[in-house]
Amino acid sequence: MNENNEFEPKIAAFLCTWCSYAAADLAGSSRIQYPPNIRVVRVPCTGRMDPFLIIKAFNMGADGILVSGCHPGDCHFLDGNLYARRRFVMLNEMMQYAGVEAERMNFTWCSASEGKRFAGVVEDAVENVKKVGPWQGFDGQGFSQEEGETTVEKV
């Protein structure tokens, strides 16, 4: 929650180190502003990303996720992102079927030169997640919003 009591989502952003991570860097060094809601996890390639990481992010209380890799055809490892694409499509299908709103899962491509686009992507992702509100966890019990806040087990 921000000062105006509006919901500020926490988004786990998995960025490919060869493109989107560099794009985030570029956005920063070009002083393009974008929302501070993402928590970046740098991955060597989206193809390396175990879909479990996304499920685990929700398990641990991320309000949404953003995965961004190289554009198809531009992968540093030739075809890592093409494998990843299928995986994310399937994961997305399953998560939506299980009742996780589509807006929480954001997959996209973003090259190293697209600093501006990256900022736009983050804005869109934050917008999307804001639409569906805070993530209540798979158990519907919610997570404490403040980082570091303690949750003491009720017994």
Binding site: F52, F88, D139
Partner: protein, 283 residues
């Protein structure tokens, strides 16, 4: 029902022959327990015992998984059409040797009692077999058997779906029967077993139960043949199959892919096409 008896007779005949001729050391099939009338997997190595083999509407287990215990032995296996698809996947994933197994494939599978997967099943003939029993079902016959049941979960709103699955997975005791009964789950170390990283917590809590089922379903993407063994095994009557079945439907709709159709195919996620769909991606 006559169909089952006919199949049983044929299975016994083939098994006896295989064992007598020493073509195989062991026949993996269905039998009846000593104390109960329940169907149970049996392993026959003496041709005299071949008549213990049966096939009836309660033969719900997926026998394919036992093949992994006999990787270097010559064995024959009684395979329902769904099991034969499982065997095809094993062959595709290079887990077993084709020359070591003899598949007694059941054609025109009449289905298993209480198994809802059978109502959705449209592959009722063995896809891979050395010997066949039963009568091949034609397209029309299969069509007629299919129950045109719409998936009730698909029609729900996300919130309702979430609630549905929460209600299901809340009962999960994490006995892992679904995992062990499933032919896909042959990993030497399951992701639930390691603690570095710890994907799911040890305690049985809804959040972790849900995570476990999602992760398992993700592992099944493009490999599940929708046989329903997980659902039959679940002691708590959880709709375990729903997620995996959805993956099967999605794979077919989006990638025109079906698992276990032939033994040379690449699995869904170990392959790609440059023109693959980007359904669900951001603009």
């Amino acid at each position: 029902m006559k169909k089952y008896e006919k199949i049983t007779e044929e299975i016994v005949e083939i098994a006896e022959k295989l064992l007598k001729e020493n073509t195989v050391e062991k026949v993996i099939g269905f039998g009846i327990g000593i104390f109960t009338e329940e169907v149970t997997p049996i392993f026959i190595s003496n041709p005299e015992n071949a008549d213990r083999l049966v096939f009836n509407s309660k033969a719900e287990m997926s026998l394919a998984k036992y093949l992994l215990n006999y990787k270097d032995q010559k064995v024959a296996i009684v395979a329902k059409p769904c099991d034969s698809r499982a065997i095809a996947t094993y062959l595709a994933e290079d887990l077993i040797k084709r020359e070591n197994i003899k598949v007694i494939g059941i054609n025109g599978c009449p289905g298993i009692e209480n198994n809802t997967a059978c109502e959705e099943c449209d592959i009722r003939n063995a896809v891979i077999s050395d010997y066949t029993v039963g009568k091949k079902m034609t397209e029309e016959e299969i069509e007629a058997k299919l129950k045109d049941k719409e998936d009730k979960i698909e029609k729900m709103t996300p919130a309702e779906r979430m609630e549905y699955f929460q209600k299901e997975f809340e009962r999960c005791t994490r006995c892992y029967a679904c995992r062990e009964a499933c032919y896909v789950c042959y990993c030497e170390q399951c992701f639930t077993e390691g603690n570095q990283p710890e994907w799911v917590g040890d305690s049985v809590k809804l959040n972790d139960n849900f995570t476990y089922h999602l992760m398992r379903a993700m592992h099944m993407a493009g490999r599940c043949v929708n046989c329903g063994a997980c659902e039959m095994a679940c002691p708590e009557g959880i709709d375990v199959r729903a997620l995996a079945a959805k993956m099967c439907r999605s794979a077919e709709e989006l990638f025109d892919y079906r698992a276990g159709i032939d033994s040379d195919q690449k699995t869904l996620l170990s392959d790609y096409d440059v023109n693959d769909t980007e359904s669900g991606f951001m603009e």
